[in-house]
Symmetry: C2
Subunit: 247 residues, 2 copies
C-alpha cells in the first residue's frame, strides 16, 4: 500500500486534488492511470480511498470512494519528550519514532543539551515526520513541538495517564513495573547525549513522572528515543497483530 499526502480532506469533499511533488510522484514515478485506486491521508487521522479521474504531472485529481479514521494507529497515545540532540540525531529520532507509532514529539532543552532548534529546523523535522508517516502507512504525522524547558514539561505531566523517564541511574524498576494495565496516554521522557542531571530527574519525579531502566547497557540518546517508544508500544500491545477487529 502506498499512501499519499493531502493538505485538505474536509468531511464534505467528494473529490480532491494533488499538486506539486505528490502529483509528479503519482503520475511520473508510479505511473498511475485514470481509474486506479490510491490512498491518501492528511496526517491528521483521515484516510481517503480515491479513484483517479485526472492524472497529469502537475495535477492529479480523484473521487473520494471511502473514508476511514485513524486506521492502523496504536490504541495508546504515546508522546515522546526527547532531549535536543546535535547533528542528525533529532531527525533520526523523529523518523524512527514516527514509524514505530508515537502520537507526538516534544523537544526538550535540558542542562546537558548541546545544540539548539531553530524554527527552520523544527519545521524540517515536521517534514521528516510526514515522510516517515507515509513510509509507515500511518494516517497521523506526529506534531513536533518545542523545544520547551524541564519546567514547562513539569507543568504538562498531569495531562498524561502515565509519565515515565528513561533513566540510566534507575537500576530497580523496569517498564513492566508500570504497565500492569494499558494506559490510554503515556509520556516517555528521554534525555539528550549525556543524559539528565539528577536534579532534573528529581523535579520530573516530583511532578509525577517515574523513572525506569532500559537495561544495563547504555543506549545512545537517538537510539534510546526510538527503543523506548518501541518498548512502550510493545507493552501496550501496539506492536503486534491488530486485535481490535477480533474483539
Amino acid at each position: 500500500m502506498e499512501l499519499f499526502y493531502l493538505e485538505r480532506t474536509d468531511p464534505g469533499l467528494d473529490s480532491v486534488e494533488f499538486r506539486g511533488a505528490e502529483a509528479r510522484h503519482i503520475a511520473r514515478v508510479l505511473r498511475h492511470r485514470v481509474g486506479d485506486r490510491i490512498w491518501a491521508t492528511d496526517g491528521l487521522g483521515t484516510e481517503l480511498e480515491l479513484e483517479l479521474k485526472t492524472v497529469a504531472p502537475d495535477r492529479v485529481a480523484g473521487l473520494v470512494k471511502s473514508r476511514r479514521t485513524r486506521p492502523r494507529e496504536p490504541r495508546c497515545l504515546l508522546t515522546l519528550a526527547q532531549g535536543v540532540l546535535k547533528g542528525n540525531g533529532l531527525s533520526r529520532v523523529v523518523e524512527g519514532a514516527t514509524q514505530v507509532g508515537v502520537a507526538g514529539i516534544i523537544l526538550l532543552n535540558t542542562q546537558r543539551t548541546v545544540g539548539r532548534v531553530s524554527d527552520r529546523k523544527r519545521s524540517r523535522l515536521g517534514k521528516v515526520a510526514v515522510e516517515a508517516m507515509k513510509v509507515s502507512t500511518r494516517t497521523v504525522a506526529p506534531v513536533v513541538s518545542g523545544p520547551i524547558s524541564i519546567g514547562e514539561l513539569e507543568g504538562r505531566i498531569a495531562e498524561y495517564e502515565l509519565a515515565l523517564i528513561a533513566y540510566e541511574e534507575e537500576k530497580k524498576t523496569g517498564l513492566d513495573g508500570f504497565l500492569y494495565r494499558t494506559p490510554s496516554s503515556v509520556l516517555v521522557i528521554v534525555g539528550p547525549e549525556g543524559g539528565f542531571e539528577p536534579a532534573e530527574v528529581v523535579r520530573l519525579r516530583q511532578a509525577g513522572a517515574r523513572p525506569f531502566s532500559m537495561g544495563p547497557r547504555r543506549l545512545r540518546a537517538d537510539t534510546a528515543g526510538i527503543v523506548a517508544s518501541a518498548m512502550l508500544l510493545q507493552m501496550t500491545g501496539d506492536l503486534g497483530p491488530d486485535r481490535r477487529n477480533m474483539l
Copy 2:
C-alpha cells in the same frame, strides 16, 4: 563508565598496553593520569579493571586489578539476520542493534536485496560494531558475518532454540505467541527494503523459522532490524533491571 578497547586480554596477563587511537584518547582527550582506574574490553566478553602505570599519547599501560566475564550482557543470545540494505542502512542497523544487545549479525542476500557488501564494507561494519560496543559499555562486539543466501540461512536455523521472521504479511501472530518461556538463543530474520518474497518466507518456515507481526504500521528495514531486536530482548527481560544478582 568509559570502556576502552584492547586487542588482547589473555588470562595470564597482569598488565596490558594501549597504542594508537585508544592511547591518544586516554592520554590526550580524557587526560587520565598514572594511578587512575579505567576499564577495558576485548570485545569477546572480557572486562578488565586497570590501574594506569604509564600515560603517554603513544602508549598507555595499566596493571590488571580485576577481571570479569560478560558483565551487562543479555542472557538471551540474540542473532539478527538482516537483509542487505543500500547506503548507510546497514551501518545504522549494526550501530543500533549492538547498543540494544545483539550477540551477532548475519548479513543476508535476498531476492529483493539492492546493493552488495564488499569485504571492505563488512570490515567497516565490524568497526561500527566495536564503536557501538564501547558507547553502550558492552564487552561483546557482535561479529558481523555474511552476506549469505536464504539457502545458507535455512541450514543454520536449527542452531537456534527459536527462529523468527519479521514479516509484514503475518497478521495473526505476534512475538508474544512464542515467548511464553525464555529461549537461550534466538535468531530474528529481517528483510531488506521491500521485504521478503513470499517464496522465501515459505522456505524459511519449512526450515523451522516462524513469522511474526510487528504491527499494522510498516517499519523501514533499518528501523525494523533495531526494533525487532529491542522487542525480542524486552520480552526475554534483557531491557530492564539486571535481576541476575538478585536471585
